[in-house]
Structure formats: structure tokens, C-alpha cells
């Protein structure tokens, strides 16, 4: 009887510890993309079907396979995100004729506020709505804005955790635009 009781207590304690460990581990940011890029590898870009911002229906990064995609996580409450929107629009216009585009991922935002900035900066590129932030979690996102460049085979070739600038785009995009699917 005593043996069985001690087993039950041990099992209950192990379950509790396991639950706690799972909770802690699940909150930790995923660094697998950064690790892969640091070692010169390209990893498959996570995809998810999400609602489109300001448009009916849903969209996914997977819809753009065969194209170079500049995936930009942004939010209207994030000042640096707003500051880089005009540059991203200029980039989109410059690369859209070369089978490439900028794709926004609007992160945990009030859609009317986000649409306000879309209109203000006359953004022509589409944005997905990552309303609960799970899509960004797959990219190990910690601070915004964050930008990932996805090659024509759907793999992450570059990432920028923080605002992008013209120099980074000029250095990153041309070699990827020259690659074939």
C-alpha cells in the first residue's frame, strides 16, 4: 500500500514538473532560423493561412512560391515599423516586375489603425493579419519590425531583426532576384 502511494506521489510530482517545464519552454523564443542563417543554411519559411488586411479572404506566404518575398512583420503601434513603410513600398514597386514582392504581416494590431497607415502611405503590397501573433512566433520574433527575405523555393535566405535600410536591401535582394526557382 505504502509502495503504491509513493509511486502515485512521484508520478504526480513528475507530471507537475513536466507541465512547468513545458510552460517555460513554450514561452522561449525560437532561434532555429537565426542559427541556420548564421551557419549559411536556408530553412523552409513557416507558412500559415491568415486573413488579409483590408481585403476579403485569406492569404499565405505559400501562395507566392516561385517569387522572392520580402516578408515584413509590422504593427501600427510600433513607430520604427511605420517609419520603414515608405521604403518597403518603394522596394515593392522596384521588385514587383522581377517576380518578387513585399508581403506585410500585420502583428497583433487594431485593423482600422493598420489600414490608416496603409492609406496614408499608399501601400500597394498586401498584408496578412497575424492577429494572435502565432505566425510571428514561428519566426522567433521578439521585437518589431522584423524582415525576412524568402527565396523562390520558399526558404529564408536573410533576416533583419530591427528596421531595414536601403543598404541592407541593396545587398540582400539582387543575388536572390537573380536566382531561378
Amino acid at each position: 500500500m505504502r509502495f503504491r502511494a509513493s509511486w502515485a506521489v512521484t508520478l504526480a510530482a513528475a507530471l507537475l514538473v513536466g507541465l512547468l517545464a513545458y510552460g517555460v519552454a513554450s514561452k522561449r523564443a525560437d532561434t532555429s532560423i537565426d542559427d541556420a542563417i548564421a551557419s549559411g543554411k536556408r530553412v523552409a519559411a513557416p507558412t500559415a493561412t491568415l486573413p488579409l488586411l483590408g481585403r476579403a479572404g485569406e492569404g499565405s506566404l505559400a501562395d507566392y512560391k516561385g517569387k522572392v518575398v520580402v516578408l515584413n512583420f509590422w504593427a501600427s503601434w510600433c513607430r520604427p515599423c511605420i517609419e520603414e513603410l515608405p521604403l518597403l513600398e518603394r522596394t515593392h514597386r522596384a521588385i514587383s516586375g522581377r517576380n518578387a514582392l513585399v508581403l506585410g504581416a500585420n502583428y497583433q494590431d487594431v485593423s482600422t489603425s493598420a489600414l490608416g497607415f496603409v492609406r496614408r502611405f499608399k501601400l500597394t503590397y498586401p498584408s496578412l493579419r497575424d492577429r494572435d501573433g502565432r505566425f510571428a512566433d514561428h519566426y522567433g520574433s521578439r521585437a518589431f519590425p522584423e524582415t525576412f527575405v524568402v527565396d523562390r523555393r520558399g526558404r529564408i535566405a536573410a533576416r533583419r531583426r530591427g528596421p531595414v535600410d536601403q543598404r541592407w536591401l541593396d545587398r540582400t535582394l539582387p543575388p536572390l532576384l537573380r536566382e531561378k526557382a
Partner: protein, 142 residues
Amino acid sequence: MKALALIVLVLAAGGPASLPDVEDEVMCVQCKTALNVSTSAVADQERAFIRRQIALGKDKRQVKAALVDEFGPGVLALPEEKGFNLAAYLVPIALALIALAGLIVAARRWRRRPSVAATAPGPLADDDARRLDAELAAYDRR
């Protein structure tokens, strides 16, 4: 009867929501703290969203539904009762039941333990028996 039904309906629907009433039951989605203690830009935006919903005449339940529609279920301070979130509700209940079961087992064992008074004394050693006899004889002589 109709008036009573109307009152019940009004009570069930709930009155118009207020910001303090809602913001202590929802989270700041980015800072992961309760909205009523959050001061970030995201929190301010969420509060503005709630005010707009209240201005539209929505009650608390409707405002919370609008928040979930905008930010997903993670905006609610109490998680939905499904999937892994069930642990938030089940673990405390399970712990309480385990503690109760432990108390019952301990109480039963304590009740079954034989009392000291009921224990039959063992036979005296020869030396002790002789000493006892001598003591009793001395007592009788007094």
C-alpha cells in the same frame, strides 16, 4: 409576467460596458500583462479600441467578443476551456483532490493505529518480578 421576462432579458444581456470593467479581464497582447496595469503603446491602442466598442453601445460580452475577433483568444485574461489551456483549470482541481485523498488516507491510518492503553503488557523479567514482590511485601508490612 411579460415585465418579469423583460427584466430577466435585460439582466442576461448585461448593461453597457465600461472601460475599467473590461480592461481587468483582458490582456495587453504584446506585453502579456493585464491591460489595466499596462502602459505601452499597444495597451493604449487596445483601450482606444474598447472605448470605440463601448461608444457603439456594446455590452461587456460583445466588447470581449470584438477583442477576440481583433486579437485572437489570447487577449482574454482567462484562457478558453480547451486544449492545453484546460490545465489552468484542471491542475488546481487535481491538486485539491490529491490533497483531500491524502488527508483521508492519513486520517484512516491514524484512527486504525492501536492506542497505547490497549496494548497488553509483556511478562516481567525475573529480576523485576522479584523486586516487585519485595516492594509489595514491604508495603504490606507497613
